[in-house]
């Protein structure tokens, strides 16, 4: 029966995958801290989403649904790892992850952009898992507060306060890279 599948859902899934693919990969990188594991997480997420598209409610939010699937897969893996004997602690190595570059920029701008991106990545990796997750979902997954509440399974108020604390911590970690008009004015006066 065609009616069980709301018109436009298949279109919206392919559109949303186009839109959030880098965001999903970024979220997977932040959760797993391993490029190979992140790729597996994203692939598994997409496969499950494609298989389950028929069950999606007509008013369902595809973007937060995709992030929720990825998060659930990750949490399931963590549970399995906890029950299995731990063999090796892997170092965090992101060197094999693709560096995001914009081809239209000049070499200097590219360099500055790369340095800033590295600083941001390092600062985010220093955050607690809870803060890391909410920052990446908000800033790089571009989820709304309501979508964050849905993915993280907590009230919108909790999302706001957690995000506020996460940003505060991130601000202090990135204080050397942040230039506010006030600070610039002070620097000029000195």
């Amino acid at each position: 029966m065609d009616v069980i599948f709301p018109s436009g859902n298949r279109y919206i899934l392919s559109q949303t995958l186009d839109e959030v693919f880098d965001g999903l990969y970024g979220y997977a990188m932040v959760l797993s801290r391993d490029p190979t594991e992140a790729e597996d997480l994203v692939q598994e997420t997409c496969v499950r989403a494609i298989q389950a598209i028929e069950n999606l409610r007509p008013d369902g939010n595809v973007k937060s649904w995709l992030f929720t699937i990825l998060r659930n897969i990750w949490l399931n893996q963590l549970r399995q790892q906890r029950t299995a004997p731990k063999m090796v602690e892997l170092d965090v190595d992101e060197s094999s992850a693709d560096i995001a570059v914009e081809p239209s920029k000049d070499p200097h701008a590219l360099y500055v952009s790369k340095v800033e991106r590295e600083q941001v990545r390092e600062a985010i990796q220093q955050l607690s898992e809870e803060f890391r997750e909410i920052i990446v979902l908000r800033e790089y997954g571009e989820l709304s507060y309501q979508e964050l509440a849905s993915v993280l399974g907590c009230p919108a108020g909790t999302v706001m306060s957690r995000l506020g604390r996460a940003r505060s911590k991130l601000r202090s970690l990135l204080s050397g890279s942040l230039y506010t008009p006030d600070r610039q004015a002070k620097g000029a006066a000195e």
Partner: protein, 292 residues
């Protein structure tokens, strides 16, 4: 809890242009007298700017995209033939993000269809143009339906054309410039801007601008004219512009091109072409142009 602590959440909402009405006025009034909150807002703006510059934080590897597309193709192949609707879905998905779809039809049938298509395109002048024009109209209505149903949420919510114009900056290969907001006397507002988002048309970013009337959602799809043909339907000339009016899937669609961009305005506003324009433009200086 101090007043400043109470307003901490408002700073986050302000960053997202999510504060409106009295809340925004109260927040502005507080900023005018509180140096601490002003400084905090500047710090948050600086942080947001730095985080935005680092987008995307990680770029998904190309082989991963290919693997996902291949997986979609495999799922498509496994779908039972009796499930025709399901198969259509999987075929559509397996097109993402590249050309990974194998034809599900036999080569004889495909050859026959190809021959008919070629003959049609050769012997019927303008057939290819009409097919491409139809494609843009269909895409615009599909996008409008998903937006109207709430499954395609706006990425930028604002009634300010300036805010929406700024939001589009750098996001598309073309410049999106909405007309500056004009003052309309209270009670005379026929339609208003609600926001915008990016969509994909022929694999390239296109702009979706959303409007509302008291009873209706209206969307405007904007893409580069290079990838679009605008033709067909009932033609109405207004100044240097030619508008094409047509009905598609229970929606009224108006398409036109201007300054290298192709536009598709989709709504459920029925009536003659001139009447549907006047619904929104009845108070504007170009009314005479529309009426003629």
């Amino acid at each position: 809890m101090s007043h400043c602590e109470e307003l901490a959440g408002d700073i986050l909402l302000c960053l997202d242009n999510a504060l409106t009405g009295q809340e925004l006025e109260d927040f502005r009034a507080h900023l005018a007298v509180c140096a601490n909150c002003w400084e905090r807002l500047e710090e948050e703006l600086a942080l947001s700017s730095l985080l935005r510059k680092a987008r995307p934080l990680y770029l998904a590897p190309q082989p991963l995209r290919a693997r996902v597309a291949a997986a979609a193709e495999q799922i498509s192949a496994r779908a039972p033939l009796s499930d025709r609707s399901g198969r259509t879905r999987m075929q559509k998905l397996s097109r993402w993000p590249g050309d990974f779809t194998r034809p599900a039809l036999s080569w004889k049938l495909l050859a026959a269809i190809t021959l008919v298509l070629i003959l049609t395109l050769v012997f019927i002048p303008g057939a290819l143009q009409r097919v491409r024009a139809k494609d843009y109209v269909e895409a615009a209505t599909a996008i409008h339906r998903t937006y109207r149903d709430g499954t395609l949420p706006l990425q930028c919510r604002s009634r300010s054309s300036e805010v929406v114009t700024d939001w589009f900056a750098g996001k598309t290969s073309f410049h999106v410039q909405l007309p500056t907001s004009k003052f309309v006397p209270k009670g005379k507002t026929v339609y208003w801007l609600t926001g915008a988002r990016l969509v994909s048309y022929k694999g390239k970013p296109a702009a979706l601008v959303a409007y509302e009337t008291p009873t209706e959602k209206i969307s405007l799809l904007v893409a580069s004219e290079k990838s679009v043909v605008v033709a067909g339907g009932e033609e109405v000339r207004s100044g240097n512009l030619t508008f094409h009016y047509q009905s598609e899937a229970n929606f009224e669609v108006i398409t036109w091109t201007n300054h290298g961009l192709a536009y598709a305005l989709v709504s459920s506003l029925a009536g003659s072409p001139q009447h549907s324009c006047l619904v929104c433009h009845q108070n504007m200086a170009d009314q005479k142009l529309v009426e003629h």
